[in-house]
Amino acid sequence: MLYRTSGQFKTTYESDQALFPVKQDALLLGVILLAAYVVFPLTASEFTFKALLVPVLIYSLAAMGLNILTGYAGQLSLGTAGFMGVGAYACYKLTTIFPEMNVVVALALSGFFSAAVGVAFGLPSLRIKGFYLAIATLASQFFLVWLFEKWAWLYNYNASGAIEVRTMEFFGIVITGPTATPVTQYYFVLAVVTIIAFAMINLTRGRYGRMWKAVRDMDIAAELVGINLMRAKLTAFAVSSYVVGIAGALLVFFWKGAAEPNLFDIPLSFQILFIAIIGGLGSIIGNFLGAILLVALPVILNVLPDTLGLTINSATMEHVNDMIVGALIITFLIVEPHGLARFWALIREKLIIWPYPH
């Protein structure tokens, strides 16, 4: 009923291939954007911004980057956090070497650094496939974290070995550092994520997206039909690492405010991978759904026992959280390997044909 498509005729190929073949999709997106841009900022508390909204956005972005590589181009990567770190450290160095540089410019540039590192570590993918490649991406993970620890130039010889974000302004508004208000940071992150998500949706629907999917489904076959494998794989690594790098820079500059090398260690890589899996590989919207679930879960688990009048110590809740996430991953892989995105697609389909079962 809500999703009745009757009366929406398509008279050209363009309209049939449009981003929103069904009017209600566009409407729904409008509602979501309205909520994100207007409703949340008006109602959310500082805690909500810092613990839910901003992390969801940043994790979605990182998962989106990973999804380009793993979900679209079929190259499993376990080293996402390392590339996030490259983005963060590049942004840090850029803003300290050129203090006048606008933070947006620094952010956009820092993505190129992670893209370059991504391509370098992507080169073996031309020779190595499958699990071997997955393990090879771990090489980048461990090596990069080690580099962040040992290369003192990267953190400006700071005694603690951590990078700290100083206060920076964007056209007169303080957007980073401790004095920045969560709302401004949220808006900034939201804008970046919206722009990149829009770009990625178009990219994955276009020539490159199709190329990547062909490689994912069977790379030798793709090569036979004339796809340049090197180009396809390396562009996937580059685009993916670019997005992931920006997510890393956002993570440090607009959420954490400071970072130690081990922030970018393997648990973060897995966190991002889980979001991508649970959200749905090969989908853009899935990243958001996955991030919402995985970010909200520990928060809810922490609040739940109190409200039920139970006292469970916080360490126990941590463990329970790990168990639930682990079980969720297994459940999703069994029930619906395509993740939450596929669930949404099923619901939408049911809504379209409602009230008829088929």
């Binding site: 499993l76 071997y132 090489a139 090596f143 393997i266 959280n321 682990g326 297994i330």
Partner: protein, 319 residues
Amino acid sequence: METLYNILIDPFVQMYEAPDFLMQVLWEGLVSGVLYALIALGFVLIFKSSRIFNFAQGIMVVFAALTLVGLHENGVPAWLAVPLTLGVMYVLAVGIERVVLRPLVGQPDIILFMATIGVTLFLIGFGEFVFGGENKVMITEALGIPTGALEFNPFGGFVLIEEKDLTAVVMAVLLVFALITFLNYSSMGRAIRALGDDHQAALSVGISLSTIWVIVWFIAGVIALATGIVWGARAGVSFALEVIAYKALPVLMLGGLESVSGAIVGGLAIGILEKLFEIYWGQPFLGGNTETWFAFILALIVLLFRPQGLFGERIIERV
């Protein structure tokens, strides 16, 4: 020139000048190598029989060791705690087969791989939930493992060999022999190898997939317990042990995913080489802690030349 000398020649001069120290380094590397090889063996066994890349092998090591220590702490004597732990590992194997593997039969490899990552996370949470997150001490004495040290004095220096490390090496060798005998001479072992060679053909001659899977996962559990005991005796039992599981991954890349001998040779090679590199190059020139990545980069370089690993079967792809 001097830098080049320092990097290329001086380390070898040092090795020559302090041979007792070199021997100690080699021994320490060998012991870690044995442990990497053991974990890699668990991976290989499961991969051979089911094409599942079992990421949870490392956490199974921790889980087995924790169970053993946890049981002992609760008053179970050591001679009973070991079989009980094996029982727990068996239940775990059956559980994983029923809950995780069976519903996923026929799914792409990558899905199964991710499922084992899910298992890993679940086991971390579950293990900490049951046994607590703090470090525990391995019940070395209760298990009858000697704790003294042997001292040798070659070349006027000294080399210390801990008896528990020696025990670890002996135990690993015995385990490998037992495993090879089992795989080659028992009917179950042959069935496992058959399954590894050709899934369809093995099924068609009546080999039961689920039985084999349970057995293979159980054997992986036994290996995990052995690894947990010897590594725990060296470094204590805690979830920090899972990092050694990551070390087994480059061993697999180097040795090949399907090769038992590859796992052993790869493990020993990585254990020794990473220690040599750390002591003679990493610490003086790179600020140390190179052991976290050395094995991965080494394996990566080897793979660029041999994509199937040193001992892996040649990859033949068809469209």
